[in-house]
């Protein structure tokens, strides 16, 4: 067996000086030292680092106070234990016998998999393997011991065997051997359970197969990932996810609102609507008015009567409308909330609270294994090189600004924020002006066809133009702010852009809910139309951006070498997606077919962007932390969803619906219809009356609130105590490691000392110790 280099090194030369003084046998010195464990003697030089000193052992200097009466080890302990030297085969053998490298862990883990087959959280057991030829046999024996004691574990054998990290053929052999030795289930009950689990497993496979088959656009995503890496493909995955959210919403509105409405008109003798509509000119696709105005597209068209297809089946449109509305909002809330919390848990809590593993993270997740093109891999090498350079230089310069500089920087930042707020206010005012002056006047100038075309489109175009140019101003201003890390600059820029969009939408919502109902007859349809126009113009601008900024730039780059090909602006595009989705959420109540429009828009956008990226863009050298930014994007989506809900809630609860159109004519607020529903239930049975009286009472609500607060407090206490526990374990881990190192050194000392005196193999005491050590794992 060749010498293996182990990191426990010991400075050989320093020891040699002191050999003459030493006259101690192995046992004596060993026991003395062993009485005082390393953890008592070692102390660290606290460096006053950012990292908490007790959790991080600063490098190399471990001084130990020499215990009395142990002169021989003076030499060793008074120097820093620098861990030099080599171990020969006996020490290597000893190291192999350490429990942390033993095989039982494998069998343990496999058995644990069997026992834990139904839990969903990922276990973190370590499974270290020796590179041993009789590996299979030993695994089989160990697992079999567990299996023979418990029949029902035998079913999920496959899942357990799958986790063993060895080659496929070995796994198959292990499984075969285990299956052969497995006892057949004796009782009928066990047989039934066996078949059930087998069925369950097959269903899981089928589900896996189906979800892979339904995987939309998989080949496209693969191509993009191969050429650009995970950063760009994260935008497309986000787009796909938003699309998939919209599909159930659309199905809900289609089934519960559109179809009944169609059936209602079908069975009516003189259906109103389509006949006296204006003829279809192509322009309606842009403006949404005209032919579309009196169709199922908008709120105003829906009847407030009861649809009665078969005698006796009643379908009250007004109940259906509001209940469907709350239904899809709740559905979206659940989906978004779940995915945001899951993302948050994965990327923030697991990534640790205070300590930033930046270097390690870079090395371990640096390379993107999905890259297939040479150009991208060159760029990736370059990008990693740049990152290394950057963090190396950043760590060397202690970037502590002096006070004047600090004050100056913060004053500049304050000024920039003031400028930003002014800009936002300006944009809000502009939106308001355009809305009031251009959109409403449409009613009066219906005859002049030009104005009918231009004025409705004015507001969306102005909005999109603002969203295109004002972020450029923000970027310009940010250059002055001199952020320390580009990451902060990115976050601040994203925040400002979203604040801009939110401001403009807020102004619009105010306009729609406050001013429009006073001057327009069927204001809900108007709101629906406005939102439709916003969505369509947003799509046109996105396509235009692709065309001009990416395609034309590529053509220019061909002619003039100075202009480079565009890089795909991931952040900007994703935020645009968030914006368009929030438009959809604002608009569903007033335009039930809007999700269909948005779905079509997303599909078009996907294909256009996909081909544009592959043909027109070049991969970026700058790194992009996809996981962290994904959490931020989902967070923004969630916030905008809440804001849209609040806005629509205002409309539902407070604003009076129009009198001439829609399902809520003659109600004071849309929500009133719920009261009538509840009243009708109350009238039907006194039990319901009691229940509602109870729910309405303040006592119940107060009790509910108190209960929720208690649950919140409890979970927070649990999480805090877990954190404290983790800290304790870390400390323990560190001191255990030091113990081990100390003991290994000691053993090596003893052995080397023995070698010097002509004892070539370990003394009887040591051998006996080794044997008893190796016997222990078998017993436990």
């Amino acid at each position: 067996m060749t010498h293996r280099h182990y990191p426990y090194r010991y400075s050989y030369q320093k020891q040699q000086k002191n050999t003459e003084v030493n006259k101690i046998t192995a046992d004596e010195s060993g026991s003395d030292i062993l009485q005082q464990t390393a953890s008592e003697h070692y102390f660290e030089n606290g460096d006053g680092d950012d990292h908490s000193a007790e959790l991080r052992h600063r490098r190399n200097r471990i001084s130990v106070s020499v215990p009395p009466g142990v002169m021989a080890f003076d030499g060793m302990f008074q120097q820093s234990i620098d861990l030099q030297g080599e171990y020969d085969e006996h020490m290597s053998e000893l190291l192999q016998q350490l429990p942390s490298r033993q095989l039982e862990d494998v069998a343990d883990m496999a058995a644990r998999t069997l026992l834990r087959k139904r839990t969903s959280h990922i276990h973190r057991a370590t499974i270290r393997l020796n590179r041993d030829e009789e590996l299979e046999e030993r695994i089989v024996e160990s697992i079999e011991l567990d299996l023979s004691s418990n029949d029902e574990l035998a079913e999920d054998l496959g899942a357990a065997v799958r986790t063993i990290p060895t080659t496929l053929s070995k796994k198959r052999n292990i499984k075969r051997k285990l299956t052969q030795r497995r006892k057949k289930p004796k009782t009928k009950w066990l047989l039934l359970k066996y078949h059930l689990t087998r069925l369950g497993r097959n269903m899981m496979f089928e589900k896996r197969r189906m979800s892979r088959a339904l995987d939309l656009w998989r080949s496209h995503l693969l191509i993009i990932e191969g050429s650009f890496g995970t950063s760009v493909v994260s935008y497309f995955i986000f787009l796909k996810w938003v699309l998939l959210i919209n599909i159930p919403v659309f199905l809900l509105t289609f089934c519960f609102l559109v179809i009944p409405q169609i059936l209602f008109r079908w069975y009516q003798k003189n259906p109103a609507g389509y006949k006296d509509a204006e003829p279809f000119r192509g322009i309606e696709l842009l403006t949404g008015t005209g032919y579309f105005e009196n169709t199922e597209m908008y709120y105003g068209f829906y009847t407030n009567q009861t649809v009665e297809i078969f005698t006796g089946s009643f379908y009250k449109m007004n109940y259906a409308y509001i209940l469907t509305c709350s239904g899809y909002y709740i559905l979206c809330l659940l989906i978004l909330g779940y995915s945001y919390l899951r993302s948050y848990r994965k990327y923030y809590i697991e990534a640790g609270s205070t300590i930033n593993m930046y270097y390690f993270n870079l090395v371990v997740s640096g390379w993107d294994y999905g890259i297939t093109s040479t150009e991208t891999s060159e760029l990736k090498h370059r990008s990693l090189y740049n990152e290394f350079k950057e963090i190396l230089s950043g760590s060397q310069i202690e970037h502590k600004l002096e006070r004047d500089e600090l004050v100056r920087v913060w004053m500049i930042r304050g000024a920039v924020w003031m400028a930003v707020i002014c800009l936002l206010a300006l944009c809000g005012y502009a939106t308001f002006e355009v809305s009031t002056s251009l959109s409403i006047n449409r009613e009066d100038t219906v005859n002049a066809t030009n104005k009918v075309l231009v004025s409705p489109l004015a507001m969306p175009v102005v909005l999109s133009l603002i969203q295109l140019f004002v972020p450029m101003i923000f970027t310009f201003l940010e250059a002055y702010e001199a952020y320390q890390m580009p990451k902060y600059e990115l976050y601040v820029h994203m925040f400002r852009e979203m604040a801009l969009k939110a401001t403009m939408l807020a102004v619009l919502v105010f306009f729609w809910l406050d001013i429009a109902p006073r001057s327009i007859k069927c204001w809900e349809t108007f709101v629906g139309e406005e939102l439709y126009r916003l969505v369509v113009i947003d799509l046109l601008f996105a396509l235009g951006y692709s065309f001009f900024m990416e395609y034309i730039r590529k053509l220019i780059a061909h002619r003039w070498a100075k202009v480079a090909k565009a890089e795909f602006a991931i952040g900007r595009h994703t935020l645009d997606l968030v914006y368009s989705q929030s438009l959809c959420w604002l608009g569903i109540f007033y335009s039930p077919l809007l999700p269909a429009v948005v779905i079509m828009k997303l599909v078009i956008l996907f294909y256009v962007k996909r081909y544009s990226v592959v043909h027109n863009c070049s991969p970026s050298v700058k790194p992009w932390r996809a996981s962290r930014t994904h959490t931020i994007f989902v967070g923004y989506l969630f916030i905008f969803f809440i804001l849209s809900c609040v806005a629509v809630g205002f409309g539902v609860f407070l604003i009076k619906p129009s009198d001439t159109c829609g399902p809520y004519q003659n109600f004071t607020t849309t929500y009133e219809v719920i009261y009538t529903l509840i009243d009708s239930w109350k009238a039907e049975s006194p039990v319901m009356k009691e229940i509602f009286a109870f729910i309405d009472s303040p006592g119940f609500i107060a009790g509910l609130l108190i209960f929720f607060f208690m649950v919140l407090y409890y979970t927070r206490t649990i999480s805090l105590s877990h954190k404290a526990m983790v800290d304790l374990f870390k400390l323990q881990l560190i001191s255990e490691g030091k113990d081990k190192k100390f003991l290994m050194n000691l053993l090596n000392q003893v052995k080397i000392r023995g070698n010097k005196r002509g004892i070539t193999h370990p003394g009887p005491a040591l051998l006996k110790n080794m044997e008893s050590c190796s016997a222990l794992p078998g017993e436990s």
Partner: protein, 183 residues
């Protein structure tokens, strides 16, 4: 799809499906890609052993700086990969593999000298592979390695054992996303 393929029997496919994290369709896809590397040999024996040079022709491995190490880790015989080794590799790199399996194999890939520990020389080779043809100076390399050891090495023995590696990887959220080859 299921009924029309004739390369594997149903039993074999079932077996593969149980033992790996791939679905049947993906297993067939993997076999197709394996065959594309050397159609003649695979036609003759569906579990043929292809030499390392042929395996390295796979697009994802071709540009990967760790390709030699990956091939070494997943090869059962040390010299070329059979289809089953290839399937194993694709299974570990797939979406379905849990994090601890990926961590286990990542540790082996980054352990260049194969001593079950990631020492400083291993890290040096990893960093050099990552930056490709660009070069960092010795001092810079040493500084990087020291920083990494600071972060990850808990018991301060200048190497990363598997336990330390696994512990620190839990704080690297991008790991699962990057350690993946999609089929």
């Amino acid at each position: 799809m299921g009924g029309t393929q004739s390369v594997f029997t149903e039993d074999e496919l079932d077996d593969y499906q149980t033992l790996t994290y791939l679905s049947k369709k993906e297993i067939l896809l993997v076999h197709k890609r394996f065959k594309a590397l050397d159609p003649a040999s695979v036609e003759a024996d569906k579990n043929a052993r292809l030499p390392m040079e042929k395996i390295r022709e796979l697009p994802e491995l071709k540009v990967n700086p760790f390709r030699d190490q990956i091939c070494k880790v997943f090869s059962s015989s040390g010299d070329g990969m059979t289809f089953e080794d290839f399937l194993d590799m694709m299974s570990v790199f797939s979406d379905g593999a849990p994090k601890n399996v990926k961590v286990e194999y990542a540790f082996r890939v980054y352990d260049f000298d194969g001593d079950d520990l990631i020492s400083e020389s291993d890290l040096k080779q990893v960093i050099e592979s990552l930056i490709g043809s660009n070069r960092l100076t010795e001092d810079e390399l040493q500084q990087l390695i020291d920083n990494i050891m600071d972060e990850a090495d808990l018991d301060d023995d200048k190497t990363l054992s598997f336990a330390e590696f696994e512990h620190v990887i839990s704080k690297a959220p991008d790991f699962v996303n990057s350690f993946r080859i999609r089929m």
